[in-house]
Amino acid sequence: MRMDLTLNGRPAQWEAAPGATLLAVLRDEGLVAAKRGCETGDCGACTVLLDGQPVNSCVVAAARAHGHRVTTLEGLADDPLMRRLQDALVEHAGVQCGYCSPGMLVSLYHLLRACRAEGTRPGDHAIREALSGNLCRCTGYVKPVAAAAAVAAALAGIPATGTEAR
């Protein structure tokens, strides 16, 4: 079936099988930041934004994207907030094997973008809640949470530009 959507801020057309998942189509399109992990909606390695909300793209129909906005990590590569998160994850040694990192980054980006818009600063509980859908078997979560807290502390100074800000 044919789908018209906004992919990473630009109009896109997809031709996909009616039963395809969003993850399958994204990866066929060469957008491979979202990973195939559990494929049961548990691990969050495939997290992307659908209309600005974090979703497990492995359990969402590709057809859901028709008429909607899909944003993947690739689409946020130039976003100042995402760059800060990526840098912080590296600085705090919150990356080990790296398989979960794209999903974690999208989840944290969603949280911090909302907090910046509201003018609030998330505590550790809110950060952990935002990461509740991202399984990581390497880091034990402490370092990714510390990385996010460091970015949260400087949130007001990070400019709101990039794909999702539009």
Partner: protein, 294 residues
């Protein structure tokens, strides 16, 4: 890979039912899809209800809170009408389902129409006297949620569509609380108990005790409720509340499985019911207690 031949997107509830009946072959309604993609059913087409106008949560002029079948769990968990209704019982149930990305897409309709004995929203909804709205191509029917479930993975729907549920205005000020026991926070519940009640002039008005994961369908413990309705709060000793818990435990019909034994589940129904009742009765009277019993 889900071997669907066609994905149909309905623009209204009536159109969804018509698309379901059009054939050829077998169809399934889809909203969030978070359960369907785990175990894709053998069928020829899916009917998407996300564009059918069923995603809203609203308060009606009568004061009922209506939650559309395609409302997401995140929407339910954060909507002010739901968080402000009966202590936010339903919002809390939604907030405990799955994880944040699952709640972005999983819906009320999916949770109920899957009709698992452990449906996360069912005990809260049963305790709040939720009414289901079911649509046909050009008609609509409403029935109490108790009558919606027929067995594990079976409902009264047939090829009709659940449009949503309504929480009656009368329960908006009820005191309510719930507990669920799980092996891990995200896992399917072993035992769920939700209790809602109203207090006026020192007496219990309505009492609702709803149970999940302990019978073929989510259920109410009506014998236990009847033991308490109309009783003076001052007369409800810890022993009386423990008795009510034991009655509730006798009403359920749990099974042994790899998560827990039937005996454990039954015992926990008694314990949780007693604790929830005691907690709610110990709450300080609220301004709206009086009004809600009227």
């Amino acid at each position: 890979m889900w071997d669907l031949k066609e994905y149909r997107i309905a623009g209204s509830p009536g159109e969804a039912v018509a698309m379901m009946r059009r054939g050829p072959g077998k169809g399934v309604y889809i909203a969030g899809g978070t359960d369907l993609f785990l175990f894709p059913p053998q069928c020829d087409y899916a009917v998407d209800i996300n564009h059918a106008g069923l995603g809203a949560i609203a308060r009606t002029p009568d004061g009922d809170v209506f939650v559309g079948a395609a409302a997401t769990l995140h929407h339910i968990a954060t909507n002010p009408f739901v968080t402000g209704y009966a202590g936010g019982l339903l919002a809390q149930a939604a907030a405990h389902c799955g994880n944040r990305p699952v709640r972005s897409t999983a819906t009320l309709g999916g949770n109920l129409c899957n009709a698992l004995p452990s449906a996360d929203l069912a005990p809260a909804l049963l305790a709040l006297d939720a009414v289901c709205y079911i649509v046909d191509e050009d008609s609509q029917e409403s029935l109490p949620l108790e009558d919606f479930f027929e067995g594990p993975r079976r409902t009264v729907l047939g090829d009709r569509l659940l449009a949503g549920i309504a929480l009656p205005a009368a329960g908006a000020g009820w005191r309510a609380a719930a507990r669920r026991l799980t092996r891990s926070a995200e896992d399917i519940a072993l035992v769920q108990v939700a209790v809602a009640l109203s207090v006026a002039d020192g007496r219990l008005g309505a009492v609702r005790i709803a149970l999940g994961s302990v019978a073929p369908v989510p259920m109410r413990a009506m014998l236990a409720e009847a033991q308490l309705e109309g009783e003076a709060v001052a007369d409800l000793s810890p022993d009386r509340l423990a008795d009510a818990g034991l009655i509730a435990a006798s009403e359920c019909d749990p099974i042994d499985d790899h998560r827990a034994s039937a005996a454990y589940r039954r015992q926990m129904v008694g314990v949780l019911t007693r604790r929830l009742l005691a907690g709610l009765l110990a709450e300080q009277p609220r301004n709206d207690d009086q009004g809600s019993a009227a």
